[in-house]
């Protein structure tokens, strides 16, 4: 099938893009990489009256490291996250996760902002950014607000982004010397949607004890979630086999959904297994 007709708007600046969104509101959709929106339009599941194509807004495509924060513009493509040395040095977990997004042709077009705004429950980025403690910046002609990634996802394919707002950048805390991390997902084939995925970022103190931990699971339920009980278990002690097992046991209690690919109980058990795996990666013991 082919997309229904729409009005095409191609802003050159952030301001022009926000003005277009303010003007068309609910009738408009932002076109970034198009790797999720265009399939929906081709199937006529989405019929936006106006498309605001932000691909020519150069200032949205910047990637920089400043004051301990890695700033990814909304238009940064997955391919760049996967390969840019500034990302692999500052937040290696992002590069590792980006390499798992779809296929090369999808990574060449798909964008960081588009993935987050689309809010697919099984998206790699949402889950990984939850583990890093990222902040998403939204702008409109009325102003700017910063939203912690925990508050971005409201439900499957649903975010707190208002129709007149544009997701302009993501701010990720840069990893330190004592940061440990892990990422793992389970897909039935290379590049496919994850049945479950997990990510963890741990900060160790001088004695090798866990000073701060963030553990996230995606793909199992409607939105990626943090496992706060697991984080508490890990806090304040060196990582041990017992603590890893105990922390992983909380993953089996995450909300799971049934679909044609897998029942909820299967996703929950996968999540438990993946959390164990990412924690072991963080300690440096590959399973």
């Amino acid at each position: 099938m082919k997309p229904a007709p729409f009005r095409y708007v191609r802003p050159q600046t952030r301001m022009e893009a926000m003005e277009a969104l303010a003007r068309y509101g609910e009738d408009a959709k932002v076109l970034a990489g198009g790797q999720s929106l265009v399939p929906l339009m081709n199937l006529r599941l989405a019929r936006p009256k106006v498309l605001v194509d932000i691909n020519r807004v150069a200032e949205l495509g910047t990637l920089e490291r400043r004051d301990g924060v890695l700033i990814l513009g909304a238009l940064v493509r997955h391919r760049q996250v996967e390969r840019d040395v500034r990302v692999t040095e500052a937040c290696p977990i992002l590069s590792r996760a980006a390499a798992h997004i779809g296929f090369p042709a999808v990574r060449n077009r798909g964008t960081v902002g588009g993935s987050l705004a689309h809010a697919d429950p099984a998206a790699e980025l949402g889950c990984v950014l939850l583990a890093t403690g990222a902040v998403v910046v939204l702008e409109s002609t009325d102003g700017r607000r910063e939203v912690p990634i925990e508050d971005l996802f409201v439900g499957p394919y649903t975010t707190c982004i208002r129709p007149e707002e544009l997701l302009v950048e993501v701010r990720v805390p840069v990893f330190g010397e004592t940061t440990r991390w892990g990422f793992a997902e389970f897909t039935r084939h290379e590049g496919g949607f994850a049945l479950a995925l997990a990510a963890c970022v741990l900060h160790l103190d001088g004695q090798g004890r866990v000073a701060a931990a963030r553990v996230a699971v995606g793909g199992a339920g409607p939105v990626p979630v943090r496992l706060r009980e697991a984080e508490q278990v890990l806090q304040g002690a060196p990582l041990s086999e017992e603590r890893v097992a105990e922390a992983a046991s909380f993953a089996c209690a995450v909300e799971g959904y049934d679909d044609v690919h897998a029942p909820a109980w299967y996703r929950q058990r996968l999540a438990g297994w993946l959390v164990r795996r990412v924690l072991q990666q963080a300690v440096g013991e590959e399973m």
């Binding site: 082919k2 007709p5 265009v38 498309l51 090369p104 060449n108 290379e190």
Partner: protein, 164 residues
């Protein structure tokens, strides 16, 4: 709907045309410009049959509107064979029978072509990863993988032949 004027280069030649915003790049390449090597299978980004190179990188032309390609350089499978001789990647697919019905072949060839530019000697895993987004529904992928390995050899030989 109003048409929008765009200018793009396909296989090294410049084209100017006016397109409706909703027209997919794949349809414009196929129908308006006659590059029927761009195959449309699923039309929602799953099968890879419509793969083309956009400024040298593989993309799915069913997931881009033609207006977005304004100012870009595109390579379709037709652009690999400009001298009247098959490109080594094309020849390898014939030699190793990396095709049956031929529907997925242009996408496979372009994905392989791009892979071999970056990795002249890829491992089997690298080949499978690079072609994971291209589905073949005739057979398995054994002969296709072997074709890419053969293409790597042919390209290396060609480079050696060209070296001073």
């Amino acid at each position: 709907m109003d048409r929008i004027s765009i200018a793009l280069s396909v296989n090294g030649k410049p084209y100017q045309l006016a397109v409706e915003p909703r027209r997919l790049l794949a349809d414009v390449l196929r129908r308006d410009l006659g590059f029927t090597g761009v195959h449309l299978g699923c039309e929602h980004g799953v099968c890879g049959a419509c793969t083309v190179l956009l400024d040298g990188e593989v993309v799915r032309s069913c997931l881009m509107f033609a207006v977005q390609a304004d100012g870009y350089e595109i390579l379709t499978v037709e652009g690999l064979n400009t001298s009247g001789e098959l490109h080594p990647v094309q020849r390898a697919f014939i030699e190793e029978f990396g095709f049956q019905c031929g529907f997925c072949t242009p996408g496979m060839i372009l994905s392989a072509y791009r892979l071999l530019q970056e990795h002249p000697n890829p491992s089997e895993y690298e080949i499978r990863r690079a072609l994971a987004g291209n589905l073949c529904r005739c057979t398995g992928y054994v002969d296709i993988v072997r074709s890419v390995q053969r293409a790597a050899v042919l390209l290396t030989q060609r480079e050696a032949y060209r070296a001073p």
